[in-house]
Subunit: 795 residues, 2 copies
């Protein structure tokens, strides 16, 4: 037997007598009595951290850019819950507090939903107005956008509905003429001028006030939700600046969308409201439940798809998603959607601009073009991810990234100058998507719907017999192809600029353009070859058999799927746009193909790629660890490293402890029985030790450098002249996670993922061998994938 004298625990005593009962009772916990049958008698229990001493302020908090310990946070929350529960019968006030606590979860998601919906509505309205400002102003009321301005107009024919006397283009206003090359140049100039102004304002605001407001925010939110601290990323400054600059960035005409940033905005709301409730503000794990719900609300308002939003939060963003969170996320998403609908920013009583209804069924043969669109989406996604990451890496590593304002202005200028001549790139991207999704009806005035039936003045379209394309369609196809190339190039350079920039809308636009082109091609094929065996049965003359708008929608879903690698949530979001179960199969075929094709070129979606680019410690729950390494190959210390820094439970002085802390940089230290036995007692975090020592120095008399430090229940027997010892048991985690050195890494990775650990100790036959941290795992995984392990920068 080895030395065990300091060990107060006798095996098999059922564990009831080591902790003085009356002291524990004072702790206010809800002690569970095991009654009958169990054999252990009345057993009193304590908790992770020792309750005997009052908590040291600061212990249990985290540094910026550090990983949280989910297990510890959840234990803290249960402890808090028990305290409130045990107190609630003491007084009416305590009871009210417990009720407030119980309801705070619903309150905070309701507030988050309300705020996200309201902000989304405001953003939609202001962005619309600013966007129209690039073309002209409404003389009757400056704050009206083009559409609102012409609502009261008498010109009610559909072709002319956009032209009303109250709305003046800049050329009309400045030059006094609406037509002619002079006014065209004037409009061109004003368009570019406003675009540049908006872009400059946006990037300056971001740069000066809130650098975290740039980008889509989804990679960072994913990392935060997986248990990482980035202070200020979801703060009020970020919220304010992101909201303002998002409007400006969208209005500037850059190839970006507002959907991703809306998720960030919603998460900021969730984070800010969680400060009203101590349950959430003081617990990093609980706060992340609110953030999951907030991201569902964000997608819900971005796409008008509450169920899709919840699934997006579940599939794409969240890490820890208990069923309670599912229900609350759903609630938040619904509240947000209803607020947005009451604001009614699009004037169509719908949640989205591009709500569509199709009336024609699809045919089995059409699956072929749909799958082709899926292949296109997958290729585009893989290409985009590579190109964008290469460009962003270049921006990060070269001098070039030092001038973000110049970069934004350059991109905005190129975008505006190239975009203006082409009507499909000049207009708002969301409106372009709407136009592409919508089927041609008799009232449609756009070039895309110039079929012969319309040219003949017949209102019979879509009646098939004259579904032959007129020249307008061909010229539209040509312009759309140019727009496609333009969007593809610009999006690569736009995503990652120092302005809020979402990727959903540009990706969908690219897919919608490609889809519409394919759709029209198939339609014309079917028209001119309606007696082919493929078309013969269902595409008779006079019947309306192809819906080009559906192709646009399928293409949009495929491209979005290729970029983000979303699956169910994407299908459900698009399903909620159309509302018909009918079209789920084409969508699914395209999204599945696009995912498979994309995955063949690299399994990461754009968000994971950006997470890796930034070196965040994100342990992806989707990626499988397939290697056969064992824990001992990954743990530190490695073969040639110095031995692991450990503390002993009762034979160190304060000086020795401080020496170990100052000589190492690791975030925590295992505590062992003695150097000889190497048997593990617990784990103490560096931050907690430092705080506890400082606290003791301040509050306790007689703590000196030669004071003994002990982690045991009772002080060791000391020489008579030694100074007062320092007890650190309260900061000792007495239930550290351990695995044996033979444990396959796939199990270790699983444990880290599912339990949300920060570190895990490795033992062999009961002796401490080493430690594995989340960073070690990520570095090991990077190494296995032939990537640079040093790219994982944070703990």
């Amino acid at each position: 037997m080895e030395e065990d004298s300091a060990d107060p625990y006798l095996p098999y005593d059922g564990g009831g007598d080591t902790i003085p009962l009356q002291e524990l009772r004072g702790g206010g916990s809800n002690y569970a009595m095991s009654n009958g049958g169990g054999g252990a008698g009345a057993s009193i229990s304590t908790h992770l951290l020792d309750l005997l001493e009052e908590p040291i302020p600061g212990v249990g908090t985290y540094d910026d850019f550090h990983t949280i310990d989910w297990v510890r946070e959840k234990c803290k929350d249960r402890e808090r819950h028990r305290k409130i529960n045990s107190k609630k019968k003491e007084s009416a006030w305590e009871f009210t507090k417990s009720l407030y606590d119980a309801w705070s979860g619903w309150l905070v998601v309701t507030l988050t939903g309300l705020a996200s919906g309201a902000l989304a509505g405001v953003i939609d309205i202001v962005a619309d107005w600013l966007n129209d400002l690039k073309e002209g102003v409404c003389l009757s009321a400056m704050w009206f956008n083009h559409e609102q301005c012409c609502w009261d107009s008498n010109e009610t024919t559909f072709a002319e509905r956009d032209k009303c006397p109250q709305w003046k283009t800049w050329a009309e206003l400045i030059l006094g003429q609406a037509e002619g090359p002079g006014s065209y140049i004037m409009n061109y100039f004003m368009f570019t001028f406003w675009a540049l102004s908006f872009a400059f304002l946006a990037v300056s605001l971001v740069k000066v006030f809130a650098p975290y407001a740039c980008g889509s925010g989804i990679p960072e939110i994913k990392t935060i939700l997986s248990g990482f601290i980035i202070r200020g990323y979801l703060g009020k400054w970020t919220l304010m600046i992101k909201t303002i600059t998002l409007v400006l960035a969208v209005a500037s005409g850059l190839s970006l969308g507002k959907e991703g940033p809306l998720v960030h905005v919603a998460c900021c709301c969730g984070n800010i409201f969680s400060y009203l409730f101590p349950k959430y503000s003081k617990n990093e794990a609980k706060k992340r439940e609110v953030l999951s719900a907030a991201s569902a609300a964000g997608v819900s308002v971005a796409f008008g798809a509450p169920i899709g939003g919840v699934l997006f939060s579940l599939e794409e963003v969240s890490y820890y998603f208990p069923l309670k969170t599912l229900w609350r996320s759903f609630f938040a998403a619904l509240v947000a959607a209803f607020v947005l609908r009451s604001i009614n920013p699009f004037g169509n009583s719908r949640l989205v601009l591009f709500y569509v209804e199709y009336h024609t069924p699809w045919y089995l043969f059409e699956l072929f073009p749909f799958i082709l669109l899926g292949v296109f989406g997958g290729l585009w996604g893989a290409f985009f991810i590579r190109a964008n990451i290469a460009w962003c890496r270049r921006r990060k590593s070269t001098r070039f990234g030092k001038y973000p304002v110049l970069e934004v202005i350059t991109v905005a200028a190129i975008t505006a100058i190239v975009a203006f001549p082409n009507p499909y790139t000049r207009q708002n991207t969301s409106e372009l998507i709407k136009e592409l999704f919508t089927d041609c009806g008799p009232l449609e005035s756009s070039q895309l719907c110039q079929y012969r039936s319309q040219m003949n003045g017949s209102q019979a379209y879509p009646a098939g017999s004259d579904a032959a394309a007129a020249p307008g369609v061909y010229s539209a196809m040509w312009q759309l192809s140019l727009a496609l190339v333009f969007k593809i190039i610009m999006t690569i350079f736009t995503f990652g600029l120092k302005v809020p920039s979402g990727l959903f809308i540009p990706s969908m636009a690219i897919g919608a353009i490609a889809g519409r082109i394919v759709g029209i091609a198939v339609e014309q094929l079917a028209y001119y070859h309606h007696d082919w065996f493929l078309f013969r049965e269902w595409c008779e003359v006079g019947a309306d058999c192809i819906t080009p708008g559906l192709y646009a929608m399928v293409g949009a879903a495929a491209c979005l799927g290729g970029v983000t690698r979303m699956t169910v949530s994407l299908v459900v979001i698009v399903f909620e746009l159309t509302g018909g179960l009918e079209y789920i199969v084409p969508l699914m075929a395209a999204v599945m193909t696009s995912k498979w094709v994309g995955d063949a070129f690299g399994r990461e979606g754009i968000y994971e790629a950006h997470i890796r680019l930034n070196g965040y410690p994100f342990l992806d729950a989707k990626e499988e660890f397939t290697h056969t390494t064992l824990a001992r190959e990954v743990m530190r210390p490695r073969r040639n490293d110095p031995p692991l820094a450990v503390l002993t439970q009762d034979d160190m002085t304060l000086a020795e402890l401080q020496n170990i802390i100052s000589q190492t940089s690791c975030n925590g230290f295992p505590v062992i029985v003695s150097k000889e036995s190497q048997r593990l007692v617990g784990f103490a975090l560096r931050r907690d030790i430092t705080i506890a020592i400082e606290n003791a120095r301040r509050k306790q008399e007689g703590i000196m450098l030669n004071s003994w430090v002990y982690f045991t229940q009772h002080a060791p027997t000391l020489p008579a002249d030694s100074p007062r010892p320092l007890k650190l048991r309260s900061i000792l985690d007495m239930s550290p996670f351990t695995v044996t050195d033979h444990t396959p890494m796939e199990i270790v990775v699983d444990i880290f993922r599912k339990l949300g650990l920060r570190q895990c100790l490795v033992t062999h036959n009961g002796r401490l061998l080493g430690i594995i941290t989340k960073k070690d795992i990520l570095r090991h995984m990077a190494q296995m994938a032939n990537q640079d392990p040093e790219s994982i920068m944070f703990n």
Copy 2:
């Protein structure tokens, strides 16, 4: 230092040299080489089970009624995957095999979806026909049900559409007269006769051929999915008998539905198809992924709600639900839904009988009656669960449960006799729900729609001005109230009978009746008091302001929610029935209220209650463990128990080992370094040891009772005359899960839930103290909840 001579592992050697390299290479695994930077050099690794020896047949399988070890199963699957991957470049055949393996997941869910959809269609059609057989037969074609029989009829007025000359009631057929008391009695008799015959046939088939075919099956499926083995529960016999008897049970008119059993049927399909693919048939964890997808398909066809089905599988049934499964479940649900729609059993091109569309919006004030319905639903749910469990417990414990056939016949007779006079109980429950959900239109002929406007012959209903109820509505309300009481009582006694019986339809029917009654009451209130401040603004004379059908739907959701405690999935399922986002808020309000009210009386849903009643080892992921016990209070051995049965790694003889095995009943034994040090080496399962010993006796020469048994890498040094030793390292799990004795039980429960463990060892300062199994945890939880811990029967 203690004795460590048998320990081949030297700390900090980086672990590369204990296993002979060339032997490992032969194992066929895909060895990962850690390249550069890592410091460990080229490291070769092995696996949980030693690869040096060929696998012993039977090791790694489970006994009936035992819990699986998810971690081990997942490791096995990754190992298999690596083997296939490493072989796939060897030959075209191996490559094909690897492709087959990669696609088998999609294949099996496709097959499952196809089969579930087809079976659901057949069940719908046959049940409909049998149900109409109780009333009469179609003379022109025996196999037509009432509706099909009258399709060709010339009687096209809506009031008379059900009366056609081809369709003969039994009275017409036997007595030759359609009216009068004699024919009424004849019809009454035949109705009861057929109901009893169907019920008798159903219960006899279940009793003789497949006892597992009874009940809804969802509690058992939940348990199986959480990692439990019940052989034959999802077999072909169960499938066949359940399909046949489900049709009979539904047709017999008992107060039961086919939705729960359809989930069971779909899971049987999933299980049977998984036998075509070794990837799934040989791995219990992978098989459960298929079953999750199958249950989604089951709900998808039961309600025509693919997204709701997936969420149901996620929220209610599944335990381990990775994102891959989500996507496949969605696919299976869609395939099943489309197959069912092509079969078109309801003749309305819809997936469900009760598809509805409402056209009137709801008003904020209406939330009050909706919440009232929620309260009713919650109360009904709580009452039903208590009453049904009490009755089932009585059936289990008394002699009364010995006569299942008699019981079914009695219940069927009472149901038939009481049901016949009341038109709302006589008809099929699904049709009743459909009628209650549907709003009154001008063509509606039922009593429920006898408003004054109709009586006046005006087609203007719903036009409000004559929305006053006529006597027909009042008599319908009276009959509905009676039906409500009848359904409530009968459902309590029906759920749990030895026939397939689902709970969704009866619960929904009860809620729909209550909802319709409340809806009509509010409607009449609004009609007669349309100048009240509540109704004044939106309920003007002439406007259609209340939709009683919506109330029925909200009530149905509330009652179903009260019984099952489903949340998101329930709202989504009902949302998919109506198709409008509009009505989600009322649904959500009612479902939330119903859940809260129900939870106030007991947190368990009906399925959890039945799981507990049957003593299955189910660790609910939803229930929080809130007590403060520590691991050492739950672990065995308890204070007065004999010490833990342990094996030592290298100083036991076969006789000693067999002695320990025969004297104890536990399922596994920790292996320690030596009795003195108590340091843990690994864990060996009883079943594996027994199989390995038998295998060695059969195959190895010279194994005798005094042979030494060792778990180490190399044989211990033995006296010269000792017989050949038996090496058992290959069955030793060298990475057992351990926790310290101070670990709070909430963390232990979390680990068990999230990782799916079977047992966990408890250590103190590196020494083995005891063991905690899933059963121990469940018993402890039962004890904490003041329930009988002995009710947990299985391991």
